[in-house]
Amino acid sequence: MSERLAVRKTYKLYIGGKFPRSESGRSYVVTSSTGDFLANAAHASRKDARDAVSAARKAFGGWSGATAYNRGQILYRIAEMLEGRHAQFVAETVAAEGVSAERAGELVDAAIDRLVWYAGWSDKVSAVAGSSNPVAGPYFNFSTPEPTGVVAVMAPQGLLGLVSVIAPVIVTGNTCVVVADGRTALPAVTLAEVLATSDLPGGVVNILTGQAAELAPWLASHMDVNAIDLTGVPEHLAAACEEAAAENLKRVFRPLPPATDWLATPDTKRLMAFLETKTVWHPVGM
């Protein structure tokens, strides 16, 4: 009996809860760290980026209006689904990053735990970042953090980095367009499959595989994007992206060196970077 021929997976984009190919028809070859063929990934275009921004904008009202409890539940659900695919993510991490199975296991564990950590923040961030303010007058004055809006996320390499930049953005009610560069396409697409089956409304996370260097400038200058995370942008492009972001005064998050240790417990910087403070003066009287 002859050996069974494997059924290969087609790697597509994830936009508005669906898995389209790039409208450009382009794809690129993802190879392992040793140069072996791993997959053909969709090579997202400027038009795909625009579609993803539209999908993220459309999802913003519903997601930001969901209760914090609900958002926390959904992030925890994502962690559960990731746990269920633990072996698959380990195998993909071994192939793509060329690390040992043991090391890959640690990275996947950390990614799951990271989601659980951020899930718990959903209904606590207001208590930490908000306040009631003792103004000198008959008003109940309070400040609450609110999501900034649509965030473009230039993801770093690997599943753990990917999860570590997406979770803090969406847990507070933002929606996002994530660019997964190079071979991060593989865990990114598998993560998209997890997201699609985790009760996360379509459009909250949109994932584009392709080249950050090509897509970042478009997203940085897009007038309906409210903030941009430049973590995965090549150093030589970051300043130009910051400059383009000034056109509609995007909030820019650019981690300072040294490079982030994704295995370490994060601080709240990423969580707070995509929040606006709203202050309400409510009258007090009889």
């Binding site: 306040s131 303010n133 400059e243 972001a245 000034a246 056109e247 509609n248 300072l256 606006e276 403070t277």
Partner: protein, 476 residues
Amino acid sequence: MFEYAPAPESRDIVDIQPSYGLFINGEFVEAQGEERAKTVNPATEEVLAEISYAGQADVDRAVRAAQDAYDGVWGRMPGRERAKYLFRIARIIQERAREFAVLESLDNGKPIRESRDVDVPLVAAHFFYYAGWADKLEHAGFGANPRPLGVAGQVIPWNFPLLMLAWKIAPALACGNTVVLKPAETTPLTALLFADVCRQAELPPGVVNIITGAGETGRMLVGREGVDKVAFTGSTEVGKQIARTLAGTGKKLTLELGGKAANIVFEDAPLDQAVEGIVNGIFFNQGHVCCAGSRLLVQESIQDELLDALKRRLATLRLGDPLDKNTDIGAINSAAQLDKIRELSRAGEEEGAERWSPPCELPDRGYWFPPTLFTGVAQSHRIAREEIFGPVLSVLTFRTPAEAIEKANNTPFGLSAGVWTEKGSRILWMAQRLRAGVVWANTFNRFDPASPFGGYKESGFGREGGRHGLEAYLDV
């Protein structure tokens, strides 16, 4: 309407020098830049003083003085000692309140009633508030040992000259930074008087440096190496330029920019109170307010009733001498600003909105514009989209709360909004959905040092006031 006899506040209390240098390293020095300009009283066009425009050499000198003061004294001073300097400053401002109020009205054109009852008391309150934070920063929620940033370059506008100075300097100093501040070229005098307060308080030299000048001086300051943090209040256009200039430099930036706030009146609102709120929202400080309620959104069912009441009220507003205690509306700050208000008002008429002003006699000299409202305004009109920064109100209507939200949020700005209704649950429902940094319910244009202020979207980023206001000046 009652007739009032003139009741001018005496200007004898202020002592304006014929010309001013720059306040650097604790003393007034002559600018090395050649350029000089005159600051005028906008109500009379009388020249008040000649000021210097700081050039590159002056900016260098001021920044070096601030660096030295940061390294040598202020950055290492215990918080409790910094606090006491700030308390001193607050007290001195209270003691010299009348002097500051008169000088502010002279240089800016705002009614003495406002400079005396709003601007200057808020300035003192702001210093008191942040003085108390200086030795409690480890409890502010930014970690166990939040550090200052270094030298702050601060550029402020002409609409609330001294108040914006306080919003910038008080938190910066409380957190341990030193500052180089540039006031607006048309309103430098209260900042220069503040320099005297620093001397009186025996603030170490170089902790506060005040350099005067126009846009070019501001550009040099924010771009200068050694400035670790930039804070700007002003137009969205200039804010974007600064953001571009600072791209890739790693300097921390906060921006408080323009607005086009909706003031939303529901049919169940207490009408007389709402009329006062609308007036305060757009005619306070001649409408020279970034968070002004410049778009009135009125529920269709009460449009006629509300507009009648509003017009009756506008007819009683007194426009004239800013130093008169009965004056409601003072002078437009400059000829350039007056041109801009006129131009946008013409555009309003040309685009088909209906213009109305009460009978209102304008003084012969100075820069004046009558309180004006436009009805029949469409969302596409320039007067509904662009910041006029003058006493001009655009009136639009809505039927449902959802429509009010849609229209209120239909702007690239997001600084403030107002909601008028008797229903508490509707206030909070609206507040949740308005994409604006400050929402006033059944009031408008209230400010308090404990209350964070700042915008969404193109109205800028960062907050001033409250615990949140510390973040802009800490390494967090």
